[in-house]
């Protein structure tokens, strides 16, 4: 453990994160502002379509904040896994020519996504205040869903990035999976719209659905249907956490195993 966080590794990690961050909006006039503008613009579109035209979410208090929080969390997950997926191949020049600890590559890309999330959370804080959301003590639990989403995304990134080195199909497959996941997760629609309780239960076994619903519960409204609620506090509510752990451990093991051959396979 001491060696993992050695001075050299910390220096390298911070420098890689810095480089990615500097290069992200290279050559664009608005620069870092895009980190905030992108989810905001998406939010406006979805808000107009779903709230104004389709009248979804009328029954949810503070629906704009509710919606934005879901979009931000999903975008964080999307960015984390998409950037993570390409990170190893993208750093092929380093991998082929020097021996740096391989895990640094995926972790540095995940930190990039975390920084973006941090910026987006500022926007959410502003929206929360503008919408007069009454904050309850459950706000202290809000780190948990974010940790869950990050851990899940990191585990997937480890697996996907290593698989991507061998099979370039992985990126296309993952795009489709993400697209499906976007609709299978209650981001745009309140879960209460789905009347079949079994389907509700199935949806809430997805770690991302659990994380988003929990975050909404903690920040916006206690009306949110969470995994804990739907299983009446039973042990089933822990299934998503187990999934996250399995994905992280499995992803790390696969990554570790494959990383020995990155240099020759890229």
């Amino acid at each position: 453990m001491k060696r993992i966080f050695s001075k050299q590794n910390r220096a390298l990690l911070s420098e890689l994160v810095r480089t990615d961050f500097k290069l992200r909006y290279q050559g664009s006039a608005l620069g870092y502002a895009w980190s905030l503008l992108r989810p905001l613009l998406l939010f406006i579109i979805l808000y107009i379509v779903f709230v104004k035209f389709l009248k979804i979410g009328d029954d949810v208090p503070h629906y704009p904040v509710y919606l934005l929080l879901g979009i931000v969390m999903w975008n964080f997950f999307l960015e984390l896994t998409m950037q993570g997926l390409g990170s190893v191949v993208g750093r092929g020049d380093l991998i082929r020519k020097i021996s740096i600890p391989r895990w640094i590559i995926v972790v540095s890309s995940s930190i990039g996504a975390l920084i973006n999330l941090g910026l987006n959370l500022i926007v959410i804080a502003i929206f929360t205040a503008l919408n007069h959301v009454s904050i309850s003590s459950s706000i202290f639990l809000i780190p948990i869903p974010f940790i869950e989403a990050y851990t899940f995304g990191l585990g997937l990134s480890l697996f996907l990035s290593a698989a991507f080195v061998k099979y370039r199909d992985v990126s296309y497959i993952w795009e489709v999976v993400l697209q499906a996941g976007f609709y299978a997760t209650p981001i745009l629609y309140p879960l209460s719209r789905i009347t079949n309780i079994t389907v509700q239960k199935l949806i809430l076994l997805n770690p991302m659905a659990q994380a988003i619903q929990n975050a909404r519960y903690d920040l916006v409204t206690h009306q949110t249907i969470t995994t804990h609620k739907i299983f009446h506090g039973g042990w089933h509510a822990f299934i998503p956490y187990v999934v996250v752990l399995v994905v992280l451990i499995g992803g790390a093991a696969y990554y570790r195993n494959q990383s020995r051959f990155f240099a020759e396979n890229i």
């Binding site: 220096a11 290069l23 020049d93 020519k97 020097i98 021996s99 240099a263």
Partner: protein, 400 residues
């Protein structure tokens, strides 16, 4: 592993899977899996390589292209995982497969210095301390805030090298770093090598340049077709290497090594052999010759029965310290057919500038193709002078 060993390579083999088709898709893998067909070919890049490098040693790895040098280097550096065998490294190792790895063209020179430094294990604070030295050594003070993509390739190499030499590793592994850059850059490289050697760092150098091998290395591994040919002194390694590049060189070298014959800078089929070589100047045998004095090379030959009367061609070559061939007289050019067993090459007044020279002698058959006896860099002598010589030689001449 004992304390004075820096690197121990034990029975290392490396196989690569070379796909038949470039398409690495799931579909093709699945199809081939179902058909029990391999979609790749195994290629053995390294085959059972073992050696040790002592601490503070300057160790060379030479061999022909595709012989496995770079693969071995990457295995030592931990970039490739060996298929079989193991590599033990005692101390911190930094590989320099290429200069400026991780340089990003979109970042400024300054940002690239910090990024590259981090790859060598330095944090920002440490880099800030060294920053000024790095920039001034690279002579790029005015350009540090410009993007790297606006640098010339020479500037990039200078910057990369300037950072690379700060590496505080115990073991440095270098692959043809010297191949880039102009003469003055190479001289800088040499100076750094000498300094590193003095500091007692362990250095592994992979190169094609036998001049560098003889200049710096203490021991050399000669590798060919993924196998160890020999681990030996630089002189012998250099000779093995030059023989490898001749047709059928590999078999004859292998034979000599297998028979425990010392592979010297000497080869040939031995029909006519050189018995002795003697340098004389002003009537005395010597290896220090004064500029402008007379100079003779006396060669005694021995012929076997079949070649008793064979016509031969005798050639000489003089190389200076920089490995430049200064002169190369031969009997064919001078229209001499040496038939006796005694041959003398004479100059009345030596025009070579001061320094050390190496003499190569060769006895060929009539056509000048088949070597009876080739004595590479056989004799070393020096030239001294009491006046400055501007250039390689002082050609004399007169002005009006």
């Amino acid at each position: 592993m004992s304390e004075d060993i820096a690197i121990k390579v034990e029975g290392v083999s490396k196989e690569f899977k070379l796909p038949y088709d470039k398409a690495t898709s799931l579909k093709s893998s699945l199809i081939n899996f179902v058909r029990h067909k391999r979609d790749y070919e195994l290629s053995k890049a390294l085959d059972d390589i073992s050696f040790e490098v002592k601490k503070g040693e300057f160790f060379g790895i030479v061999g022909r292209n595709g012989g496995g040098k770079s693969t071995l280097l990457k295995v030592i550096s931990g970039i490739y995982t060996p298929t079989k065998g193991s590599v033990h490294v005692n101390g911190k190792l930094t590989p320099f497969i290429e200069l400026g790895v991780g340089f990003n063209p979109e970042l400024s020179g300054r940002e690239n210095v910090y990024l590259n430094g981090a790859l060598l294990g330095f944090n920002r604070a440490e880099m800030s301390v060294m920053y000024k030295d790095i920039v001034s050594f690279a002579e790029l003070e005015k350009f540090m805030d410009q993007k790297l993509k606006n640098y010339s390739s020479g500037m990039q190499v200078r910057l990369a090298f300037s950072i690379a030499i700060r590496a505080k590793s115990d073991i440095l592994v270098m692959d043809e770093v010297l191949a880039v850059g102009d003469a003055s850059f190479q001289k800088k490289c040499f100076d750094v090598f000498r300094r590193l050697k003095k500091e007692g760092r362990t250095i592994i150098l992979v190169t094609h340049d036998m001049g560098n091998v003889e200049r710096f290395c203490e021991r050399v591994l000669v590798i060919d077709q993924g196998k160890t040919l020999s681990i030996t002194n630089p002189a012998e390694a250099s000779s093995i290497y030059s023989r490898l590049n001749v047709e059928n060189g590999l078999e004859s070298v292998r034979e000599d090594i297998a028979n425990n014959k010392v592979v010297k800078h000497r080869y040939g089929d031995g029909g006519v052999t050189v018995e002795s070589v003697k340098l004389t100047s002003e009537g005395k045998e010597t290896d220090v010759i004064s500029f402008g004095k007379s100079f003779h090379i006396e060669i005694n030959l021995k012929r076997d029965k079949q070649h008793h009367k064979s016509p031969i061609v005798c050639g000489l070559a003089f190389h200076n310290e920089d490995d430049v061939k200064v002169a190369g007289p031969n009997t064919q050019q001078s229209k001499v057919d040496p038939l006796s067993n005694k041959l003398t090459f004479s100059v009345d007044s030596l025009i070579f500038g001061p320094g050390e020279y190496q003499l190569t002698l060769a006895i060929f058959d009539e056509g000048g193709i088949n070597a009876y006896d080739f004595l590479e860099r056989w004799v070393t002598f020096s030239v001294i002078t009491d006046h400055a010589v501007n250039g390689l030689v002082d050609m004399g001449g007169s002005w009006k």
